[in-house]
């Protein structure tokens, strides 16, 4: 009996902290999403609207759908390209691969940078007057010099995707190197002797055995891509116009800048849906039995 009391007493502080900093704010935001919730209108945080914030987002806000679209494309592109690049690099860097050691340590550097810092540095690098890329293109491909990268909707979006890939590839590469190291060498050598070309060894033997790790990588990266905020905030601030406005940026703008905290909360809760799905998939892969 005493043991049991002590047990609960010991976890109590942790439970309190989680409740105060995660559960309660979450519930509060859920409540707010059903109110008028204007920061500049006293009392509106308690005026209930029902589902109106949600229907508003769905049926009366093209900007919401724009943010959904941007987020979806952004997520698809960054997940696909980051995973592909990381896979390629991991193959080269894995034990028995062609590069190694020194390069491996160097590679982790981008991951050590905060996303906001990546955003700022890429903004400077793509500056049309004194940016690194401008100088580079001026030297190598003069027609591309002087382009205002961040002023063009498509180019700005591409720069955002690029910055994200640059920041994430190293970490995912390391994870995949670990995954590759756990594929039994025997099976690869058996396939080589059995007569498989290196591509078929990869496709038939390495990849299927790497699948669980690869799934975790893709799911994790999807979650991180979906919630991207700081990098975009510092790099383009959603612009030009709303060309690079992701959902989290859209939520921030509506909530903090326009003071529509109730509406912002409802959009945030809409975002929870894909997140729950991905988290569930992640948990299934990581904690699955055997």
């Amino acid at each position: 009996m005493r043991d049991n009391t002590l047990k609960y007493l010991l976890v109590l502080p942790a439970v309190v902290v989680v409740f105060a900093t995660a559960i309660w704010p979450l519930m509060e935001s859920l409540r707010l999403s059903f109110t008028i919730g204007r920061l500049n209108r006293p009392g509106s945080l308690d005026q209930y609207l029902g589902w109106e914030n949600y229907t508003w987002a769905f049926f009366d806000e093209p900007a919401f759908w724009n943010a959904v679209w941007v987020t979806a494309v952004y997520t698809l592109l960054t997940v696909a390209l980051t995973t592909l690049l990381a896979m390629g690099l991991a193959m080269l860097l894995a034990p028995g691969g062609r590069l190694r050691s020194g390069v491996q340590t160097l590679l982790i550097l981008p991951f050590a940078m905060s996303p906001a810092l990546i955003g700022v540095s890429f903004r400077f690098m793509f500056n049309p007057e004194f940016g690194l890329f401008d100088a580079f293109f001026g030297l190598v491909l003069p027609p591309l010099a002087g382009i205002s990268w961040l002023a063009d909707p498509v180019l700005a979006f591409a720069v955002c995707v690029m910055a994200d890939i640059w920041g994430w590839v190293p970490f995912l590469t390391l994870v995949l190197i670990g995954g590759l190291a756990s594929v039994p060498r025997d099976t690869i050598e058996a396939a080589q002797v059995d007569g498989a070309s290196s591509w078929r060894v990869f496709r038939d033997v390495t990849l299927p055995q790497l699948a669980p790790v690869l799934a975790v990588v893709i799911i994790l990266k999807s979650i991180f891509s979906l919630k991207t905020f700081d990098q975009i905030f510092m790099l383009t601030n959603g612009g030009p116009g709303t060309a690079t406005q992701t959902l989290s940026h859209y939520i921030y703008f509506n909530g903090m800048k326009y003071g529509q905290i109730g509406y912002a909360a409802s959009v945030a809760w809409l975002m929870v849906i894909p997140m729950i799905f991905l988290t569930y998939a992640y948990a299934r892969y990581v904690f699955r039995k055997n």
């Binding site: 039994p184 025997d186 099976t187 050598e189 058996a190 396939a191 080589q192 002797v193 059995d194 007569g195 498989a196 070309s197 078929r200 038939d204 033997v205 299927p208 055995q209």
Partner: protein, 352 residues
């Protein structure tokens, strides 16, 4: 089907020498065993034949083709790995069919050939399972079936039985022997188990420190070892090695006791090798010398006596009905027709 020739083959990793300038000719349809303790270079030699390891120098020939620059897939060999190397995500059928699939065998030929290979190793009921659902012995058979589903030029087997328990190893050994006689394909087999080498091989190459010590039939290796290493490595119990000297046609053991007559020039120091089976046990006073029993072991089919005089211990095999006790005194005589004399420093055999 082809012969395999290794010409002055060397494998070095930095300063470490795995295989040191070795030449070896493996005849067509021969079952050759590379035998030696771990780290002797036997597996490295095999991996160089398979193409999984590149030689530092020297040449590997399979048939009439120098294959140094060929990838493993182009060498037309099949290999059985120590840990089997089965594809865990494929069914047993797909595992066995894989070499056929990647080599572009027509689809309608694959199923019958897989079934025939599976039948040979008695795997037919398990074809739809995954490797995880099989026992060690069954996995071993899958690896074997995957090798025999094609007829390659050479079979390579890397300690295929070492992960099985003792009982299963004996069964699989005889199955392997039966299969190899049936298939008639050049086979290179790596093992550290001298019984496997003796029972399976047409010829054995005993290796140590990357150098082949002796190449010969099991009979030659067992009955005519070229040096101390081979003599001590082959046989169970291990050959007895008795230190002493030779004078006037007599081997004199430590303490100045005459042990046995031997036809050899005088040696101030020599090592005498004699197998447990070639030592006869008598009542005290009736043998060449009297010795104390250090340990008596009854193995059921015979008795093993570890006997001692001075600091010298030897093992003698006695009749299965012999019963003695520790510290009993017995006499022993050595069979003068089966003695081996070695140089103590170099380990080289002194002809008698």
């Amino acid at each position: 089907m082809a012969e395999v020739r290794l010409k002055k083959l060397t494998k070095r990793w930095g300063d470490v020498v795995g295989v040191d300038n070795q030449s070896l000719q493996i005849k067509d349809k021969e079952f050759l065993v590379l035998l030696g303790p771990s780290g002797c270079g036997k597996t490295t030699t095999m991996r160089m034949i398979a193409g999984l390891e590149n030689p530092s120098s020297g040449e590997v020939w399979i048939g009439d083709r120098m294959v140094n620059d060929d990838l493993p897939k182009d060498r037309d060999v099949a290999m059985v790995f120590q840990n089997y190397g089965l594809y865990p995500h494929m069914t047993i059928f797909d595992n066995i069919a894989y070499p056929l699939k990647v080599r572009g065998t027509p689809k309608n030929e694959i199923a019958p050939r897989v079934k025939r290979a599976a039948e040979k190793v008695e795997l037919t009921p398990f074809l739809e399972r995954k490797p995880k659902a099989l026992s060690g012995g069954q996995r071993q058979r899958v690896a074997l079936a995957r090798a025999i589903v094609r007829t390659p030029k050479v079979f390579l087997m890397d300690e295929p039985l070492s992960n099985l328990d003792a009982k299963l190893r004996v069964t699989m050994r005889s199955e392997l022997k039966h299969l190899s006689k049936q298939l008639q394909v050049t086979t290179v087999y790596v093992t550290h188990d001298q019984i496997e080498a003796m029972t399976l091989a047409d010829r054995v190459a005993v290796m140590k420190h990357g150098v082949i010590q002796q190449l010969g039939t099991p009979d030659e290796i067992y009955n005519d070892p070229v040096n101390l290493f081979v003599a001590a490595f082959i046989g169970s119990p291990t050959m007895n090695l008795i230190t002493g000297s030779v004078s006037n046609g007599m081997f004199v053991t430590t303490g100045g006791k005459d042990l046995v007559q031997i036809r050899a020039p005088d040696q101030s120091a020599a090592v005498l090798g004699v197998r447990a089976d070639d030592i006869a046990i008598h009542d005290p006073g009736e043998g060449s010398i009297d010795v104390t029993i250090y340990a008596f072991e009854n193995t059921g089919d015979s008795s093993l006596l570890t006997v001692q005089w001075g600091k010298q211990r030897v093992i003698a095999r006695g009749d299965r009905h012999l019963r003695k006790d520790q510290d009993d005194i017995v006499g022993i005589t050595l069979n003068p027709n089966h003695l081996y004399l070695f140089e103590p420093q170099s380990g080289a055999r002194i002809k008698t």
